[in-house]
């Protein structure tokens, strides 16, 4: 009985598996790994399999093994130790063997008793795979939530813009070199104005003495955006809309 070792004993996950040690004996012929798996699944009766040939095969293997294959040798030792322990358990007297069962039930410790649990999990997983849930965005980021602007209505806002525009000067022709401010810049300016005021401001208070229709539109958009992101709040007083900073 010679142990024959083939080299290919790392799983894709980098875990050492027992080397395919060949065992030949009257009761079992095959690899150590096969015997190990059959024992683990409760498919062989270890009490009828002498383990000394297995131990011999292991010893021959381990004395022949190169020092860099220590993981593999360790895995083989684990498999062997498991077999020995299981065999020891299987030799213990069983109190009342159920008569109808052909294979004697293996006492713990064993993963065998979890086979049903594994099956039931598998079933649950397959049932679950038939159910599909909504591909929700992160924390509802996909949803437009109405902006909180108190009792303001779109009508209020529209009228405010109308009044603002009515006071605007005609658009002057700007020199092409002059950079048009971005909405972000206008927002920053408007926010700063509202915050530094320390009191409620009207739309008109946000505007310089003279302004163009374009300026008015920009300021109006900036206010809407600031309301949307919750940096300022607004309310109605009579016909006018007031704006104030929101405490963060």
């Amino acid at each position: 009985m010679k142990p024959q070792v083939e080299r290919e004993s790392l799983t894709p996950g980098g875990v050492a598996v027992p080397p395919p040690l060949k065992i030949e004996s009257s009761a079992f012929t095959g690899s150590l790994a096969t015997l190990f798996h059959l024992a683990r699944e409760g498919r062989v009766d270890l009490s009828g399999i002498p383990l000394s040939p297995v131990c011999h095969a292991y010893l021959e293997y381990v004395f022949g093994v190169a020092p860099d294959r220590v993981d593999e040798a360790g895995a083989a030792l684990l498999a062997l130790a498991y077999l020995v322990e299981r065999k020891a358990w299987s030799l213990l007297p069983i109190a009342d063997p159920p008569p109808e069962q052909e294979i004697p039930e293996l006492p713990a410790p064993t993963a065998h008793e979890f086979a049903l649990a594994v099956d039931s999990l598998d079933t649950g997983f397959r049932e679950r795979a038939q159910l599909f849930f909504r591909a929700g965005g992160v924390e509802g980021a996909d949803y437009e939530i109405p902006i909180e602007i108190g009792h303001l209505t779109t009508n209020h806002l529209a009228r405010a813009l109308e009044r603002l525009l009515s006071k605007a000067m005609p658009t002057t022709v700007e020199p092409t070199a002059k950079k048009r401010p971005s909405l972000a810049e206008v927002m920053a300016k408007v926010l700063q104005r509202i915050q530094s005021a320390g009191k409620r401001l009207g739309f008109v208070d946000l505007m310089p003495e003279e302004y163009t229709r374009l300026d008015a539109v920009f300021v109006f958009l900036a206010v809407l955006e600031l309301l949307r992101i919750g940096r300022i709040k607004a309310g109605v007083a009579g016909e006018e809309i007031w704006l104030a900073a929101k405490e963060s």
């Binding site: 799983t11 875990v15 498999a79 049903l116 949803y143």
Partner: protein
């Protein structure tokens, strides 16, 4: 059941519809408490509404209500799985037998250390543990008050969700394996 539906209809089928809208936008299972808070009603009313909603969805439409991972969630009915899969082309990720085995042991015996899993299985489970961690199915709970203070593993909400369970008591009883309390 009929009584609950009637009660819900009387007091406001509107709440049933509101609950449906809430569940529709929620990206994860929603608890009874959160539904009650969002709709501004009592949990008891919401419970009736959920029952009525479940019944309505069961009768018509492609969506149903499930109680999963400790909350309520809408999902498609299983009979449309194939068509939905056509649209989404989901990659089916099946767990290998040994990862499933480790998962089963953790589910039934949690909290449990890697060493204890090893004793049960007779093989190292490091790789399976890493896979299960990566998939968010198990988590490190704490450290055991034992030499070396080994990590104790347990299952996650994600596990309940993926395996179609509402809570751990939903795990079927398996002879010889004590259930978790």
């Amino acid at each position: 059941m009929q009584a609950a539906i009637e009660r819900a209809n009387e007091k406001g089928g509107e709440l049933v519809d509101a609950v449906e809208a809430l569940l529709f936008v929620a990206p994860a299972p929603v608890s009874l408490q959160d539904l009650a808070e969002a709709s501004g009603r009592e949990e008891e009313q919401v419970r009736d509404a959920l029952e009525a909603l479940s019944d309505r969805l069961e009768r018509t439409g492609g969506i149903k209500l499930v109680k999963i991972a400790g909350g309520y969630q809408l999902c498609t009915k299983p009979e449309f799985a194939e068509q939905v899969a056509n649209l989404l082309r989901p990659q089916k990720r099946r767990l290998g037998r040994s990862a499933l085995e480790v998962l089963a042991i953790i589910a039934y015996r949690q909290p449990i250390t890697a060493q204890e899993i090893f004793i049960i299985r007779g093989v190292q489970s490091d790789y399976s543990l890493r896979v299960l961690m990566d998939l968010g199915l198990i988590q490190e709970l704490e450290r055991k008050q034992a030499p070396g203070r080994p990590i104790l593993y347990g299952t996650t909400q994600q596990f309940l969700h993926q395996f179609n369970l509402n809570d751990l008591s939903d795990l079927p009883e398996v002879p010889g394996v004590p259930s978790v309390d």
